[in-house]
Structures are given as C-alpha cells and as structure tokens.
C-alpha cells in the first residue's frame, strides 16, 4: 500500500488545490493515482477545475519531492491517515470539505467520535482560563474527547483540563506537524502526542501562516459533535470555528462572561443569535443525544467537596469568590494578620478549595464548587 500513500500525499501537497477541488477530482477520477496520471485535457474538463488549476497540477506534480516528505514522516514518527482509510475520523468524513490526508501523532480511536471542541481567545482572562479548564475536565471525565487548536489561551487551558484527569484530547494544528506553534506549548504538544492525538492536514514543514488557521478551524469543528466558545472577541478566530460548526450542522455553545470585557463580545453575540448558553457541562451533554448516557460525576470530585475545613478556613473561604482578590484585601476583610492569612490560604490551597494566581491573588477553585 506504500505507493498509494505517496499518491495521497502528493495530491495533498499540490499548491492551488484545496480540499474542495480534491474532492471533485476524486469523484471524477476515482483515485489519487488516476488524478496524478491524468493529462491536462482530462483535468481541465472536470467541473470546477479550470485551465489554470489544471496547468498547475500538471506542472507541479512531478516537481514535488515526495521521497523527502516520506523520510520526514518516518523520522518524526508520524503516521498518515487518508480519506479512504478505515480509521479516518467518522465525524470529519461527513463535512463538506474534509481534508484528504491527515498527518497524525498518537492514535485516532473510534471513541474519538464522541468529541466536543473548545476554542476561544488567545488572550483570556483568569475567569476564561478557569472555565475552559473546568468544562474540559468535566467533559473528559465523562470520556468525551476534547478537540482544540493548541493555540495560546483558551485552547491551551482546554487541552490541559482534559489531560489533568487523564482524559483524551485532540490538537489540530495550523502548521506542519513537525512544527510546534506557539513554541511555549512544546511540552503540551508532546504530552498530547503521547496521551491523545495531534493532527494536521498540512505537509511537513508548513509554517504557521495566517491563512492556515481558518482552514484548521473547519477540522476542529468537523471532528466534534459540538463547539464550545469560551471567550471570543468581536473578530476572533473562534467565531470562524463557530461559523464552520453551523455550516457542518454541529451544535454551538457559548459561555457568558463579563459584559465590560471586550473579549466576550463575540461569545455574547453568539448567544444572542441562539447559541446555547453554558454554565456547566450538563448544559452541553443535555443537548447532544449520544452523550447523555456517558458516565455520571466521577468520585474524585465528590471527595474534594467533603474535605473538612477549620472554622478559620471556612471564614476565609467564604470571603473568596470566583473573582481573584489580593492577599492584602483578604487580610483586611478577615481581620487576620498577613502571616496568619498566608498559612490559612496555603492550607485551603492544599485542600484543593482555592487557587492562587499571579500577583498573590486568590480565588475559589471551580472544581470544588
């Protein structure tokens, strides 16, 4: 079968023909090999392929260095899943313009059909990050795969949330699978490669160009049954994903935020247009029929709620909310000296009830609620 994969890869690498045109060509010729062997005349008579594109196919198909691509794939321990393979994701197959080739790190499982995408801004608030982490963790605990784009911000939190409870997560890249973008997510990238899946439709070495990301977004929503938008500004890429989801007949969910924060304008406008407002993971599960029977609440969360607090801890915990507040203010409001409050906060943190964030700010941990 090795030569067949080569044909798929070559077809995928020809510049100027995207997923749509590939599908048209495949419909007409039946196999990638036939497309690559067709002459100019045959090519330009396919509906949707003009003379210009046909010429481009003919001129570039022999120039591509497919040997090099294959050796890079082997070196990086990447596997290739083509549109005709049995393990090609079922959800993705049903969209209008599925990628013909997926470069895969890790293993795609049939269970990944039960998947929810979670996307949002690259510059989230603490609230946004916490919501993404909490929701994705709760969904992953119910054996739902979390799909996101490995971008900064909400995407990162969504992946981390799923990994934190040993759940599955799928990262879809907007660049070649041998490139980690953004670079600071290297460790996360490797972790997902081991415990989940990283996928990309782009040939090895493709730079993270701006135009790649909208294309990637259609795969994110395509792999999933629904898309959750956590924080999105007015012109956020997350809204493009929401748009793709609608086109593909997926559910769209949005988490509300602070109305004074411009970074939530986009998600709020989605809610106005009819996206379902999400406060907890039940809101998502309820909407998607095939998810209803998946696991109830895990025991780990329950035990967290039953941890005993001392009266002092109880008092300090009650002062905190989901808005971060500074340690000085907590000290003032509780009437406890700063050294005393430090140790109470530390104990609360160790008991998993609160969290500390940068700037000596504290807030309640969402999972203990």
């Amino acid at each position: 079968m090795a030569d067949k994969i080569e044909h798929w890869l070559t077809l995928n690498m020809i510049p100027g023909i995207g997923a749509m045109r590939c599908q048209k060509l495949l419909e007409h010729f039946g196999s990638p090999q036939a497309i690559l062997e067709a002459n100019l005349n045959e090519l330009q008579h396919v509906a949707g392929i003009g003379e210009y594109t046909a010429r481009q196919i003919v001129s570039s198909r022999d120039k591509l260095d497919i040997e090099k691509e294959i050796s890079r794939i082997k070196k990086q321990k990447v596997s290739v899943v083509t549109f005709s393979d049995d393990n090609y994701p079922a959800n993705l197959k049903s969209i209008f313009d599925p990628p013909i080739v997926l470069y895969v790190k890790g293993k795609l499982l049939p269970e990944d059909r039960i998947a929810i995408a979670m996307v949002g801004t690259r510059r989230p608030t603490t609230y946004g990050k916490m919501v993404a982490e909490k929701l994705s963790k709760e969904l992953a605990e119910r054996e739902i795969s979390i799909v996101s784009g490995l971008a900064r911000g909400i995407d990162t939190s969504a992946h981390k949330g799923a990994l934190s409870c040993g759940g599955r997560t799928i990262a879809v890249l907007g660049c070649g699978i041998d490139i980690c973008y953004p670079p600071e997510n290297r460790a996360l990238f490797d972790e997902i490669g081991k415990r989940g899946v990283v996928v990309s439709e782009f040939p090895m070495g493709t730079r993270p160009e701006k135009m790649n990301f909208p294309m990637r977004n259609r795969i994110i929503s395509g792999l999933s049954l629904g898309v959750v938008i956590v924080e999105a500004g007015f012109r956020s890429g997350a809204l493009i994903t929401a748009g793709c989801a609608l086109e593909q007949g997926r559910e769209v969910f949005a988490v509300p935020g602070n109305i004074f924060n411009l970074g939530t304008k986009g998600s709020h406008s989605l809610i106005k247009q009819g996206a379902k407002l999400v406060e907890e993971c039940e809101d998502i599960i309820e909407e998607i029929r095939c998810l209803r029977d998946v696991l109830p609440v895990s025991p780990a969360i329950k035990s967290l709620r039953e941890v005993k607090l001392s009266s002092e801890e109880e008092r300090v915990y009650n002062l905190l909310s989901f808005e971060p507040i500074h340690i000085d203010l907590i000290s003032k409001q509780s009437g406890l000296a700063i050294n005393r409050i430090s140790s109470v906060l530390m104990n609360l943190e160790m008991k998993g009830r609160i969290r500390q964030i940068v700037g000596k700010m504290f807030l309640r941990a969402p999972e203990a609620q």
């Binding site: 050294n339 140790s343 906060l345 530390m346 104990n347 500390q356 964030i357 940068v358 700037g359 700010m361």
Partner: protein
C-alpha cells in the same frame, strides 16, 4: 566564602551578605496587574523569566509579589505596626538564634545553617511534616526549595518564640515561594 585561584596565588574573600533584589513580572511590567493589561506574549514572559535560572531562584529565600499601590492608598494612613514594635520582635528572634548557635563558629543566624544543622534544629510537628510533604508533591517544589522553606519557617517560629515548627509556620514559608510555582504561566 569565595576562593579565586590564579596562576600565582589563591585568594579567599569573605562573602556573607544579604541580597534584596527586585524585578518586573514581564517586559512591559503589567502582567498580573488588575488595572492595566499586559501586552507581552507568554513566550516573551517565559524568556524574560528564564534570565533568572532555577538554581539561582532556589537560593533566594523569599519571593514577594508587590502590586501597584493606588494613589488613594498612598495618602490614607493605615494603622500598621510601628517599626519599633517590629524591631523588638526581631531582636528577640535574633537573640534566640544567637543562643542556639553560640557553640558554632561563623553561624549566627538561621540563614547560615548548613544541612546538618537544619536536620538538628528544624524539628517539625507531625502535622507540619505532612503539610510540607504534600506541598512539595503538589506544587512541584525542588529539593533546594525544601531546605529554604525549613530555614524560613524556623525563623517564623522564632518570631513567635516557639521551639517546634508547626504547620502554620510551614504554610507561611511556602507562601513566600511564589516564583517557584509556575503561577506565572
């Protein structure tokens, strides 16, 4: 002490000092600020922070994050402790330490303790021991940070004139290690 060896001689200089240093949270200075938005990328912040290596950071006992002070707070006088009362408390703690180390040459205070003295003088209550163990595991603190926490908690206990270190001393000491904790990412 620092020993410098050159071709002709080897010189030993005394090097006992107290270091107090300040840094910004990120290149633009607003990361974690509640009023203004930081314009740095996570990568920039990571690079900026990496200028201080882990081993160096480990050797700094206390990290304290100081938020910007609002104008209003600058002008309102609050009833904080006076320096005089603090001074007497500190003096008492110093006396305890001087007494503790009087047998040893060149050890005058908790900060000078070597590993063997730490084992001897930093005796933890059962509960404190458990807290420290949990914290190291959960917060991913280094072995070097462990020694630092013990020394600082020894001093905190001395300020209360307590012989044994209890869990709230340990808890306070751990709060002073915020830079170890990846809260910044």
């Amino acid at each position: 002490m620092v020993t410098i060896v050159r071709v002709s001689t080897a010189l030993t200089y005394p090097a006992k000092f107290m270091l107090a240093a300040a840094m910004n949270p990120c290149p633009c200075g607003f990361y974690g600020d509640s009023q203004r938005e930081c314009t740095c990328t996570p990568f920039q912040i990571q690079k900026y922070r990496a200028k201080i290596s882990g081993p160096l950071l480990d050797r700094i006992d206390m990290h304290i994050e100081v938020p910007p002070v609002k104008y209003q707070e600058l002008t309102v006088d609050t009833d904080g402790e006076s320096s005089l009362t603090i001074r007497t408390r500190v003096q008492r703690a110093r006396d305890i330490q001087k007494e503790r180390f009087k047998k040893f040459k060149s050890v005058y205070c908790n900060a000078h303790m070597e590993a063997k003295y730490i084992r001897k003088y930093c005796i933890l209550e059962k509960e404190a021991e458990k807290l420290l163990k949990d914290a190291i595991e959960r917060l991913g603190l280094s072995a070097r940070a462990y020694d630092r926490i013990l020394k600082v908690s020894r001093t905190i206990a001395d300020l209360e004139a307590k012989e044994e270190i209890s869990s709230h001393h340990i808890a306070e000491a751990i709060q002073y290690r915020s830079l170890d904790r990846n809260l910044w990412m």
